[in-house]
């Protein structure tokens, strides 16, 4: 792919075009009972789908504060997954390389199943510090890149911004390995300001930097190249421009790390605002709420850009649990694919992970290969965030969820009874539909809609003249005397639930 061509698809960073009404437009803490619905919302937004176990675990913490603290602790203490045996090698064999990439992608899906907030944030940073393997090519660079993001995912922002520019994936993706004294390449210099730290304009609408700043920053960034033998970035002083540069009004013989320091020194407001907007988009809604974003920005600034501190404030706020925003995000393909597995309690085989890879790619998200340096517009572009959901992707999104339930396309046969036992009572047809709907959907079904669903699936064929007790008896008869039929009907029920428009929302 021509790098210039796809970089030029980028538009100027969009200004927030409107804010939405909400009961709360700041970060005042949530009050009231810590309910299962709130716990489920927290898990859905911080994980890939809400497994029953994770919801129960969040619920028993007793408060939003305790539940969020536990999520962050778990994310920080989680060991890194094993790296593949080839992680320290490059290859010139294209076929080998692509198989390595696929293996590493499947490995990430498996880690998303269990990795909770750590993996959600890792994907957040991948979307933020986007690089694409189709450009940097080597699968081992993808391992290095992702491992770096994982290590830094649940911590302060500064080490991320300092370190990402020295990873081979980024050096290749944005050409900084070609940037040398007397032969400048401005690509990374521009993006570290525009996309990775502070944006084109600050919260006051004024430009954050000039073209001269970009050129001077590019000079500071010279000297870094890819060390293919050791899969790391290496500084070669003979390629570095050691002269004086003036960046954002500060003059000195600046290098890479000096540039990062200058950004934090001179543009702390803008960085805080920019990062707060991204966190808001990912965890609440792609259209920013100005009041909440401003409050979150000040939390970032006061905590020296500590992301867990900001998340703690956001995820325990009344705004986060406002019913107006619960279920207001469209699921990304990864949230949909990993989510349906986690929500149904399915542990995917290698074949299933391969299906996830091809299907999520088909519906617009191939991890490690985002469409541009801006990442995926579905996550945080206020104008294009609905791009995930089209008449083309919806059938495939629905088909993917169904394949899991009906045990097709690499998914093993699925027994719905254990899930029903976990979330409800297998003998009560109306209750189990309601409980499964609550488990699977971010937007609650009306009682009437849930009843209708019961009558079309588990109670299919029951005379509607029956009393409620008689219909229950009908279902009990099936469960007791014909368990395979009960399982099939429950699969139809689950398929009906994941086929609802509501299931596309999180």
């Amino acid at each position: 792919m021509d790098r210039r061509a796809f970089l030029s698809r980028r538009r100027p960073a969009p200004a927030p075009h409107h804010t939405h009404a909400s009961a709360s437009a700041d970060l005042s803490p949530v009050s009231g009972e810590w309910t299962a619905a709130r716990a489920a919302h927290l898990v859905r937004r911080t994980h890939f789908g809400a497994s029953r176990a994770d919801v129960v675990s969040a619920l028993v913490r007793g408060s939003a504060e305790a539940a969020v603290a536990a999520l962050i602790d778990a994310a920080q203490s989680r060991p890194l997954p094993d790296e593949p045996g080839w992680a320290s090698q490059t290859t010139s064999n294209g076929g080998t390389n692509i198989q390595r990439l696929y293996e590493w992608q499947r490995g990430w899906y498996a880690e998303m199943m269990e990795g909770g907030l750590r993996e959600k944030l890792t994907l957040f940073w991948h979307d933020h510090f986007a690089t694409a393997q189709v450009t940097y090519e080597q699968a081992s660079f993808a391992v290095d890149y992702l491992t770096f993001l994982r290590e830094e995912a649940v911590g302060p922002f500064r080490p991320l911004l300092e370190g990402i520019g020295k990873r081979p994936a980024m050096l290749r993706f944005l050409d900084n390995d070609a940037n040398e004294a007397g032969n400048l390449n401005e690509n990374y210099a521009r993006e570290i300001m525009e996309l990775f730290s502070m944006g084109i304009t600050g919260p006051d609408g004024q430009p954050n930097y000039t073209q001269d700043d970009v050129i001077e920053a590019a000079r500071a960034l010279t000297g870094w190249v890819v060390d293919e033998n050791n899969i790391r970035g290496r500084f070669r002083s003979e390629r570095h421009d050691a002269g004086q540069k003036t960046i954002l009004g500060r003059t000195g013989a600046w290098d890479h790390d000096d540039l990062v320091q200058i950004l934090f020194d001179e543009r702390a407001d803008a960085i805080a605002h920019f990062l707060a907007g991204k966190l808001y988009a990912w965890f609440v809604h792609p259209v920013p709420n100005a009041g909440v974003v401003a409050a979150l920005a000040s939390v970032l600034q006061q905590s020296d850009f500590d992301v867990p501190t900001a998340l703690r404030a956001l995820l325990t706020s009344a705004h986060f649990y406002d019913p107006a925003v619960v279920g207001a995000r469209l699921k990304s393909p990864m949230e949909l694919a990993i989510g349906v597995l986690r929500e149904l309690g399915v542990t995917p085989s290698a074949a299933a992970l391969e299906t996830i890879r091809t299907r999520t790619q088909s519906i617009g998200q191939e991890v490690l290969n985002p469409p541009s340096v801006e990442g995926w517009p579905g996550y945080d572009d206020p104008l294009e965030y609905r791009a995930w959901v089209t008449t083309g992707t919806i059938p495939e999104r629905r088909g993917l969820a169904e394949s899991v339930i009906y045990g097709e396309s690499g998914f093993a046969g699925y027994d719905p009874l254990p899930l029903v036992e976990q979330v409800s009572d297998r003998f009560d047809p109306y209750r189990l539909v309601r409980d499964l709907a609550d488990h699977l959907l971010a937007i609650p079904l009306t009682d009437a809609a849930a009843d209708e669903l019961a009558e079309q699936t588990v109670l299919d064929g029951v005379p509607m003249s029956y009393s409620r007790e008689e219909r229950n008896g009908f279902w009990v008869e099936i469960v007791v005397s014909a368990e395979p039929v009960a399982r099939e009907r429950l699969r139809h029920l689950l398929a009906a639930l994941v086929n609802l428009p509501e299931y596309q929302l999180v």
Binding site: H20, S22, H285, V287, P323, A324, V325, G327, A328, L330, S362, R386, V389, T390, T391, G392, T393, I394, P395, E396, R398, G399, E402, A442, I443, L445, T446, A448, A449, E452, L453, E455, Q456, D460, G461, V462, P463, M464, S465, Y466, S467, R468, E470, G473, F474, V476, E477, A482, P484, V485, E488, H492, A495, A496, N499, L500, P501, E502, Q504, L505
Partner: protein, 552 residues
């Protein structure tokens, strides 16, 4: 579970709901395929599921969409016959629907609920129809109503759900199948329809008929409306999912957006919506109130609007009359009779191409129980309606059987296996080859002679209203020579052609003046590439086509 005498009143008409169910597999197979095709526009045609015709240098790929005109002509021209299934949920008491009024045992065993001869609509010297159904007198007189006595199956199940599944799947009592008889039939009638969907839903369910009925190898077929209100919304607004009824919040806005996308992506929405706009109900048809009438009125609208769907399934519940049967069953039977009569009046010119049959999972006990009701039992009669049926009574009536049974035997044994009725529908009504009918029904079930008065395969049959009939090719599939019978009711010019999947004429079989009467098209398939073709016959007034499969 049914030893009770309290019953909820018949469920009120369901109101429109915030959600609606297009129920996963009812059409999503098609969805997925269709969208994959869109995704793979630039990929190889074979990968995209296109047809490959011919071989070697002469092979040509045909995009799947390019042969829809052929399938449309199969749907619209060749046999536009329709089957409507009315499911009577709960187990209909057949003895009080088709009453053996000369049987002593009937009156002896039903002292309170036995129906007096004087209240009945007389059918013959021994049987009368429940008086609540007397609005069917006209159809009976015209020979448009057939009654099959004591339909059932060996080792009859008395469980609602098991027996419903057996009727829907046409399985043996001991067998559990996850597909339905009409679903399997469609799989045979339209091979390849899963990977290459028709432009219209081949089956439409309205209002809670068993989904198993229309379940085929690729999942349930066609489109499903959970209630007539949902159909009405589609007819009025083009929306299957309600875009208006969402919360006034950010989450509500996103939900509305997703519903919009769902609505615009529904494969059959346009076909169904267009048909619902093109067809109108006759205001004079005289539909009664109730869900069944609403469902049938919707079906009539779609048929008159030209929707190609072959199978419609509707339902009416409330037949599980363990207590106070007289009042309750009477109202239900009246609804059926008046709804069906109005349905045929409404269909008008389309009436002759619509066959309607009822079924219920089981009949009820011969003797009344202690609550002036009846309990679950076995065989019961079913009704078949339409201009295409041979009116009258089929099978051995229950009268003599009843009089010969010991009083401790409380279930009417079957006289006709229900799968023979299905065989009549498949072989005679839809013209399915015997081998296919056997494959669908498991073999061994012959059609009931005369039940379908105008079998599609009969070359002796009179020409249809426009003066032209085209029979099924024999043999089909064909390797060498095949013959296709036709009948003209008037002399005149006739053109017969063999047409390929792209609608191109590959052979002219006949182009001449022909006298009135029977004729035969002779065809030599040698030299033709393997694949599906149409034999098309045209006169100045009419056109017919039948499919022909050439194998090598």
């Amino acid at each position: 579970m049914c030893d009770h005498d309290l019953h909820a009143p018949t469920r009120p008409e369901t109101k429109r709901r915030a959600i609606s169910l297009d129920f996963g597999r009812d059409h999503d197979r098609d969805h997925a395929t269709w969208s994959r095709r869109d995704f793979l526009t630039g990929a190889t045609a074979a990968a995209a599921g296109a047809f490959l015709l011919g071989s070697g240098a002469h092979a040509r790929t045909v995009r799947a969409s390019s042969h829809t005109p052929l399938l449309r002509s199969l749907g619209g021209v060749e046999t536009d016959r329709v089957l409507v299934i009315i499911q009577l949920g709960g187990g209909n008491d057949g003895l009080n629907m088709v009453v053996p009024y000369t049987s002593d045992a009937y009156y002896r065993r039903r002292p309170q609920i036995g129906l007096a001869e004087s209240s009945l609509m007389t059918l013959d010297g021994d049987y009368g129809l429940n008086g609540a159904m007397s609005s069917l007198e006209g159809m009976w007189g015209e020979g448009d109503l057939a009654i099959v006595h004591s339909a059932g199956y060996p080792n009859h199940s008395r469980s609602h759900f098991r027996s419903t599944d057996i009727w829907a799947s046409a399985s043996d009592a001991s067998e559990t199948r996850s597909d339905g008889w009409t679903g399997r039939s469609v799989d045979r009638m339209f091979p390849g329809h899963v990977s290459d969907p028709l432009p219209y839903p081949v089956a439409v369910r309205i209002g809670g008929a068993s989904s198993l009925l229309t379940r085929g190898a690729g999942g349930a077929l066609g489109m499903s409306f959970s209630n007539p209100g949902q159909f009405d919304r589609l007819a009025q607004t083009g929306q299957f999912y309600d875009e208006a009824d969402v919360p006034a919040t950010l989450a509500g806005e996103e939900l509305r957006f997703v519903r919009e996308i769902y609505n615009s992506g529904l494969r059959y929405r346009d076909a169904v919506y267009n048909a619902s706009q093109a067809g109108t109900n006759d205001a004079e048809a005289g539909y009664p109130g109730g869900g069944l009438a609403s469902s049938l009125a919707s079906v009539a609208r779609l048929i008159k609007g030209g929707l190609g769907s072959r199978i419609f399934a509707v339902s009416i519940g409330g037949f599980d009359t363990h207590s106070n049967q007289l009042d309750r069953q009477t109202g239900l039977l009246r609804q059926i009779a008046e709804s069906v009569r109005a349905f045929y009046a409404d269909l008008g010119a389309d009436a002759d191409r619509v066959l309607t049959m009822t079924f219920s999972e089981f009949g009820r006990t011969i003797s009344q129980n202690g609550s002036a009701g009846t309990d679950h039992a076995e065989a019961s009669p079913l009704l078949v309606f339409g201009g295409g049926v041979g009116g009258g009574l089929y099978g051995d009536g229950p009268g003599p059987v009843l009089d010969g049974l010991p009083t401790n035997q409380n279930a009417l044994p079957m006289s006709v296996d229900f799968r023979r009725v299905y065989a009549s529908v498949l072989t005679d009504w839809f013209g399915m080859p015997d081998a296919d009918t056997s494959a669908v029904l498991g073999g061994g079930f012959s059609p009931l002679t005369g039940l379908v008065a105008r079998p599609i395969t009969s070359v002796d049959d009179a020409p249809e209203a426009d003066g032209l009939r085209l029979g099924a090719p024999t043999p089909n599939p064909v390797v060498g020579r095949a013959a296709v019978p036709f009948t003209l009711d008037a002399a005149g010019p006739v053109v017969a052609e063999l047409v390929d999947l792209q609608g191109r004429t590959v052979r002219v079989l006949l182009d001449a003046e022909r006298p009135a009467g029977d004729g035969t098209l002779a065809l030599d398939a040698r030299g033709l590439a393997a694949g599906l073709y149409l034999v098309r016959l045209r006169t100045p007034r009419a056109s017919r086509a039948v499919p022909l499969t050439v194998v090598r």
